[in-house]
Symmetry: C2
Subunit: 501 residues, 2 copies
């Protein structure tokens, strides 16, 4: 067979890699990628330097202006080198960069170099996971990875299984879908979830045509088992209980054992959203706050959080492979009966998507590079740093801590907000907290998160939630000393806000 060589003569149109011809021409595609990657990384470094901090200053207007000069639709084509240089510089200069410790708002991690490089290999070869004849090796790699992930979630199950998803949102949707189908014979399923649960749970219920979830009260951002028992006792329809292992607001982990007992007693499906906290499974540290997790029917994990993968790297684990069979689907062009009978793996039912990027590849490369325990050590580092930063908050004369961190989230409030609240009421206090966050963002100084929460202990609570500043610490190499000046800056800004009012 021959391969048309025209691809190698026109750089912007070069395809990524060449097959078929094992001679020197086979290198042209890979070399085109290599050259463009080199150009792109130079541009990226240039952009990072131009930014100088965790996020660009000036808000959407400033960033939008830089981007508008590079309208992709405006010209006849500027060529690959120019386009990737210009746009990579602008993207890097205009990024909120999680590699900077002061970019700490969200479950938004700095990716490992090895994972990013592996993801490029996936892009170049472009396997699609919806049929074996588009992804022979990628299929086997995914199978090996998901077997291990399933075993990590369910060490004692007979036939656990796991699927790769786009993230916690798709995993939660899939968990609810499995629950809907498992209960179908007993009537429409009713979702029940803590008030601490991620918004994607209610959104999934809406997409799936289920009733809006019944909310269960929390204490200390953890589902209250007594409140769950009451909700379940009043329910005639089959339920799916959604618990959270690592809330977005505080990293709190629901009391999984008690919830599992209650769910089992009424025959409810138990789905645990462990998109954040599930990473503790990688660590050897004991005791684990995840005890009871393996009693869930399905579990959402996200390795683009504590797992340091480029997005997307979501997982849905299930205690029994047979429960996933409701996702099976046949399409003659992808999984014809005679192919399946001949032993070609039938992958179509392993996702709600059809064309599907091999996100398993970068995860597999990372796990093989660092080992499960190596990744677990990075998780432990983040937790240790968070504990130390929390102590520094407690010791700080102008800040107070919400509670000791469970995972790697530190919630804090400037005392200036409490002082303003005493004078002008809680709205004013919250507005001060919001202004500190926004001011640091607008100035390009820091990216802080926000959380609206009851106090950790509800003793003497007035019943109104307050706004807290949130540090979600996902950088495994950042240290307490990286954050101390940030605590001072927050306190200073809060004092300035108070003085200005």
């Amino acid at each position: 067979m021959t391969f048309s060589q025209s691809a190698a003569q026109d750089a912007p149109m070069r395809v990524a890699a060449l097959g078929g011809d094992p001679g020197p021409a086979a290198l042209a595609g890979a070399n085109a990628v290599r050259e463009l990657v080199s150009i792109a990384l130079d541009a990226l470094v240039e952009g990072v330097r131009a930014r100088g901090g965790p996020v660009p200053a000036g808000g959407p207007a400033a960033v939008g202006e830089a981007v508008a000069r590079l309208d992709p639709w405006a010209s006849a084509g500027v060529g690959a080198e120019t386009a990737i240089t210009e746009l990579s510089t602008v993207l890097a200069a205009g990024s909120a960069d999680p590699v900077d410790p002061w970019c700490a708002a969200h479950l938004h991690c700095p990716p490992l170099a090895v994972a990013a490089a592996a993801d490029l290999v996936a892009s170049v070869l472009n396997p699609s996971m919806d049929s074996w004849d588009q992804a022979p090796a990628a299929t086997a790699i995914e199978q090996g990875l998901t077997e291990g992930l399933a075993r990590l979630c369910y060490p004692n199950a007979e036939r656990p299984d796991a699927l790769v998803t786009t993230g916690g949102t798709e995993s939660n949707l899939s968990g609810l879908l499995l629950a809907r189908q498992a209960a179908a014979a007993r009537g429409p399923v009713v979702p029940v979830c803590g008030r601490n649960s991620h918004h994607s749970v209610a959104r999934a219920a809406w997409i799936l045509g289920l009733p809006a979830p019944i909310p269960v009260d929390c204490v200390g951002d953890r589902m209250n088992p007594a409140a769950l028992a009451e909700v379940l006792s009043g329910l005639a329809a089959p339920a799916v209980v959604v618990a959270t292992a690592g809330t977005t607001n505080s990293g709190a982990i629901d009391p999984l054992e008690e919830i599992a007992d209650l769910a089992r007693a009424v025959g409810a499906w138990l789905h645990v959203d462990a998109a954040y906290g599930g990473a503790l499974l990688l660590s050897d540290r004991r005791p684990s706050p995840l005890t009871g997790l393996d009693r869930a029917d399905s579990i959402a994990l996200d390795l683009h959080k504590l797992g340091w993968q480029p997005i997307a790297a979501g997982v849905l684990a299930c205690r029994d492979a047979d429960l996933l069979r409701v996702l099976d689907v046949r399409a003659d062009y992808l999984n014809a009966d005679d192919d399946t009978e001949a032993g070609l793996p039938d992958l179509l039912g392993r996702s709600l998507r059809t064309s599907r990027r091999p996100d398993a590849f970068k995860i597999a490369v990372t796990v093989r590079a660092l080992g499960r325990a190596g990744l677990g050590e990075l998780v432990d580092r983040c937790r240790d740093t968070a504990a130390r930063v929390a102590s520094a908050v407690t010791a700080h004369p102008d800040l107070r801590l919400w509670a000791e961190p469970t995972l790697s989230t530190v919630l804090l409030r400037p005392l200036a907000a409490d002082e303003l609240e005493a004078e002008l009421g809680p709205d004013a206090g919250d507005a001060l907290v919001a202004a500190v966050r926004r001011g640091l963002l607008d100035d390009g100084a820091a990216v802080l998160g926000r959380a609206t929460l009851a106090p950790f202990s509800e003793e003497g609570w007035d019943g109104r939630d307050r706004l807290w500043l949130k540090l979600t610490l996902l950088h495994p190499h950042a240290q307490e000393s990286d954050y101390l000046p940030l605590l001072d800056l927050i306190a200073l800004r809060a004092r300035q806000e108070l003085a200005a009012r």
Copy 2:
């Protein structure tokens, strides 16, 4: 602010890029990526050479054995360089490589080098599109890209809009979801789609809790407007009509103008799955078989098909931005009211996902590199090549053509299958076709698709579909001469199969 330098000292744990410190240390992360990419691309070339053809020989067993030696869960970690070398080699050696013209089964494209390199930049910076403070520049880049895509789909609409999705499957689901919500006041919506529609339409209906779609008969793999009129006239509930512009089986495009007239007459939502054919919008060639497309309420596009992007690069366009507002969702930690009021873009409702990779970036870089018309020329090349290969099939003494290609799909059948059918019946003929495809796949010689279809013209048809071999030609630089030996090989294998029976 300081940045912990420990990241630069331990290669496997290096994060991808460094910010915050504009000195030489800022280069360490980017250099770690550069070195690992170089190692990975060397390994990739090695794997492509080892494969030697479009797909590895020996089926799942051979590939699985190579992968099993690299179990990510088996060891304490082998280091980044070793892991990425081993696994990239195995992935490349075990890939069905769409860069090889004889890998032509599916809508599975060879990605452009510039798109793959841009996707690496996205991986390294890892913006997440669910809030502005995780993706300042990526937000603006996505906005510019989707505005242009929306305008391409709806040149005459006042406020068209478009969302980035994981592919046609999510776009079809989103289109049906929009239709469900738009009709909510009039009762549950009923999907109506051609028998030629993609399986994801029925799957979306199932996920969304809608009734199974009512199928509409086709002629020549195109929806029959008379049959649609009959279905719609018998329907009391509000409908969503799903038409196809570029079927997976043959690339046929439904009569969009007539379907739009019928849908409008009954007030039905019209969604067009243009995941394959929508790429014709990039081309300047006229007349376009897409006439009428802009009368759809929503349109699915896929730039990881004719658009040469690494997966994923899906799009959902909608004729009016207001119709997308049903997807709005609020989550205080991502789009607090005071942020939205202050002008931070509210992105959360622009996807069914939450954490979301900036797939818009690679598409924007590609469009800016080649220009819209430059991409359109690549689309035209594929169509021209398909037309020439179709002529070669017609001229071939041992093959027959299903019909002239509409897009870039060529369906053919070895005459040996017809001869066997005349002797032993249609099952035997189809089995011969399946055996030719499987044999070439098992041998690592070629990756051919399959399609079960009625004849293009149904005159004198016996009512039973037949199995055809499918060539989906997505390589913009492959030429007719690349495929002529493949046609001969197919004919030869068919003769050999016939002789062996």
